[in-house]
């Protein structure tokens, strides 16, 4: 390109992803830039669709617990707990208290590791790698505890339908309290850093604004919403497991920006330490699991769980066999990803990575469904019948030059030969 032509650098569209160092997972964002300023932003999901929901329908409930656990590598306990909660509700199982306490302890330990991981990533996105190294070093403490309790650092596999697999013993409890003490001290240090280190505050504060009204109307969940002063947390709104017994306090902030989200996550860590201590101290004696039937009675159920990233929802429809008829998962990132476009209005390119990272995205958890918009809007209720979807998709692919009916004919001819 001759330089005279190239020097006109007015508006450029730069692709962030599907492969980009700022994103740990493939997802495509297109940013229209004028100089350094972001003029328009578009996100495209769907690079990580793994067909987990369909795979769940082909496996038994016992197997599905492990499958849904692998939806997310960071908040794996989230998915397996909300799945088992749903199945237990369908089967009307009376899960022992001790099992519920152990689930809460693992869930909160997982929140610690997820939030510390986020803190490191946030540091990396603003070029503060030292924060990444230190917070990930401290995260090892909780990873080791989780490995000791469950047998692995991620994908804990501790949930079974009707309870948990492994019990907490005396030395585990000692280890947990020791780890929580260390981590509490370290978290206080990070709060100190986050509120005082000038270069960090300059990059976080005032960036990625999401006003309270927008957070509500865009349906943000988790720390993203709570940093915009939306006091919404499933642990308090719809307490599952034993959260109602532990006394839970919602951490909110009214900064509405990335700085606020950092403070909310760090504040939540402090709250989490308190919850773990309370759970460990009140741990009741008793069995850790009840026997679950293989065939789950007919019915449908909806289960909610406050994942580190926000509200996680599982829907299960059972038809009385040992396999579910339908499993639907909505991961928190799907709720939050819409807010990114709002946050990036009139921001700079340099702020894009941290703004995307601030919702703590987990794209492979999100990629699970397609939304079909009715182009004619003849169906105001938004419910599309199977035949309509089929004819829509045939039309869509024909418009792109792919005709499956022709391909099918060719295939049939080939098979005849």
């Amino acid at each position: 390109m001759p330089p005279e032509k190239g020097l006109k650098m007015r508006k450029v569209v730069i692709p962030i992803g599907p492969q980009h160092p700022a994103l740990k997972e493939p997802e495509s964002f297109n940013v229209t830039l004028s100089g350094e300023r972001i003029m328009a932003f578009s996100a495209r999901l769907g690079y990580n669709h793994r067909g987990i929901e369909k795979a769940c329908e082909e496996r038994t409930y016992v197997q599905d617990v492990y499958l849904v656990e692998r939806i997310c590598g960071i908040c794996s306990h989230t998915h397996s707990t909300s799945f088992t909660q749903a199945v237990e509700e369908l089967a009307a199982l009376d899960v022992p208290k001790r099992a519920l306490y152990i689930r809460v302890i693992i869930g909160e330990l997982e929140r610690i590791h997820s939030h510390l991981l986020w803190l490191g990533i946030a540091g990396h996105e603003v070029g503060f790698d030292t924060l990444l190294m230190y917070s990930w070093r401290d995260r090892e403490v909780v990873m080791d505890i989780l490995a000791e309790l469950t047998g692995n650092r991620v994908n804990y596999g501790i949930n079974v339908i009707g309870g948990v697999k492994r019990d907490l013993e005396g030395h585990h409890i000692k280890d947990i309290s020791k780890a929580v003490d260390t981590l509490e001290e370290r978290t206080k240090y990070y709060i100190d850093i986050a509120t005082k280190e000038t270069t960090l505050i300059q990059r976080l504060s005032g960036v990625g604004k999401l006003p309270h009204e927008d957070a509500l109307s865009l349906g943000a969940t988790g720390p993203t919403a709570r940093a915009s002063n939306v006091a919404r947390d499933i642990r308090q709104d719809d307490p599952y497991a034993v959260y109602s017994e532990l006394g839970f306090r919602i951490v909110t902030d009214n900064h509405n920006d990335v700085y606020g989200r950092t403070l909310v996550r760090l504040g939540e860590l402090m709250e989490t330490y308190r919850l773990i201590r309370a759970a460990v101290n009140n741990l009741p004696e008793g069995p850790i699991a009840v026997k679950a039937p293989r065939k789950i009675p007919e019915g449908e159920v909806f289960s909610r769980y406050e994942a580190p990233r926000g509200e996680n929802v599982h829907y299960i429809k059972s038809n009385g066999t040992d396999k579910p008829e339908r499993v639907k998962v909505r991961a928190p990132t799907l709720a939050n990803v819409q807010t990114v476009a709002r946050m990036l209005e009139d921001e700079q390119l340099a702020d894009l990575p941290i703004v995307i990272a601030a919702i703590d995205p987990c794209f492979s958890c999100t990629d699970r469904m397609i939304t079909v918009k009715d182009p004619d809007d003849s169906n105001p209720r938004g419910i599309i019948k199977w035949d309509d979807i089929r004819s829509y998709s045939i039309g869509l692919y024909r418009s792109r030059g792919v005709d499956f009916s022709l391909l099918n004919k060719k295939l049939a001819e080939k098979l005849k030969c």
Binding site: T199, Q202, A350
Partner: protein, 313 residues
């Protein structure tokens, strides 16, 4: 003639600079790792990285201007090596000196940044272009304070030659203490020149992949990286010669040791600042340089002028 060739190719020219540049990279990386409570790379890591890159294929993008794309790394390397000949390293006299070599050295040290701009621009990749524009924008922010604060000691010494400056400061002991503001300012400017945190905006990997160097690979990237390392050595040598002018009258071996210690000191300061800061945004960087760094550089000139008027007379 033969000695000139020896100076250019072996010592303190190309080979010495390559070795010291890679050692500097190793020290920087190891220190960076140790400051972050990590293990850090083994001593041969920079050399291994270099060999790996050299053994790989050069890929020139179809859209890129091949001659400019290939020439820019060589220009960067040449400029940063040439600059060393005018800097007094461990002796009062540099290898070659004339009145005005201060300006030539600063000019030579600016060329690598321009080659990053041109190399990035002619790669035609979007990330490279944005990186290229950013490195040029950054150049305007740090170059002025750097020039001003290097000018100040020259004013005090009343010469435009680095060697004569070194002689002046060797004869007038403790005069270097007046230039300490300039030392800090020039370290900040050097961080910007070398595109290191907090000024690694042109290479911010989470935004624009590798900035200017996104499309570079193989030998060309190896040369670019080598030139960055050598630029670190020449830049640090310049700062050492201007602001830390002691030990220059010592015998060669002792003087050389003092010179290495000075380099180590400057590199350690740069590693430390790379550890404790987050990356600036472009607007913040420009604002910081014009609002805070430039006034300090100006203050340095004022101090030197006053001292010159009151004291030296």
């Amino acid at each position: 003639m033969l000695t000139d060739l020896f100076h250019i190719v072996i010592f303190p020219g190309f080979l010495f600079l390559c070795a010291s540049g890679m050692t500097a990279e190793y020290i920087d990386r190891k220190l960076y790792a140790r400051l972050q409570n990590r293990m850090g790379p083994p001593w041969f890591q920079p050399f291994a990285d270099f060999m790996k890159l050299v053994s790989k294929e050069d890929i020139v993008p179809d859209e890129a201007n091949p001659s400019m794309f290939r020439a820019m790394p060589i220009f960067a390397l040449t400029a940063s090596i040439t600059a060393i000949f005018y800097i007094p390293l461990w002796h009062v006299n540099a290898l070659y000196h004339f009145n005005g070599d201060l300006i030539v050295t600063i000019y030579l040290l600016t060329i690598p940044t321009l080659t990053y701009f041109l190399g990035g621009w002619y790669s035609t990749s979007l990330y490279s272009k944005i990186g290229a524009v950013r490195s040029l924008t950054q150049l305007f922010a740090y170059e002025v304070p750097l020039l001003m604060c290097i000018l100040a000691p020259a004013l005090l010494a009343n010469t435009w030659s680095l060697s004569e400056m070194a002689a002046f400061y060797t004869n007038h002991k403790w005069y270097w203490a007046f230039n300490m503001i300039g030392f800090v300012v020039s370290i900040i400017a050097l961080l910007g020149k070398l595109e290191k945190v907090p000024f690694d905006i042109p290479e911010a990997e989470t935004e624009i992949v590798a900035g200017t160097f996104t499309e570079y690979s193989g030998r060309l990237l190896a040369i670019f990286r080598l030139s960055l390392n050598i630029e670190a050595i020449t830049g640090a040598s310049l700062i050492a010669a201007v602001y830390l002018p002691f030990g220059l009258e010592l015998p060669t071996a002792a003087g050389f040791a003092v010179y290495l210690a000075k380099l180590l000191f400057i590199i350690a300061i740069m590693s430390l600042s790379r550890t404790v800061f987050a990356r600036f945004r472009m607007d913040q960087m420009v604002e910081f340089c014009w609002k805070y760094v430039s006034p300090f550089a100006f203050l340095q000139i004022l101090i030197c002028l006053i001292i010159k008027g009151v004291w030296v007379r």
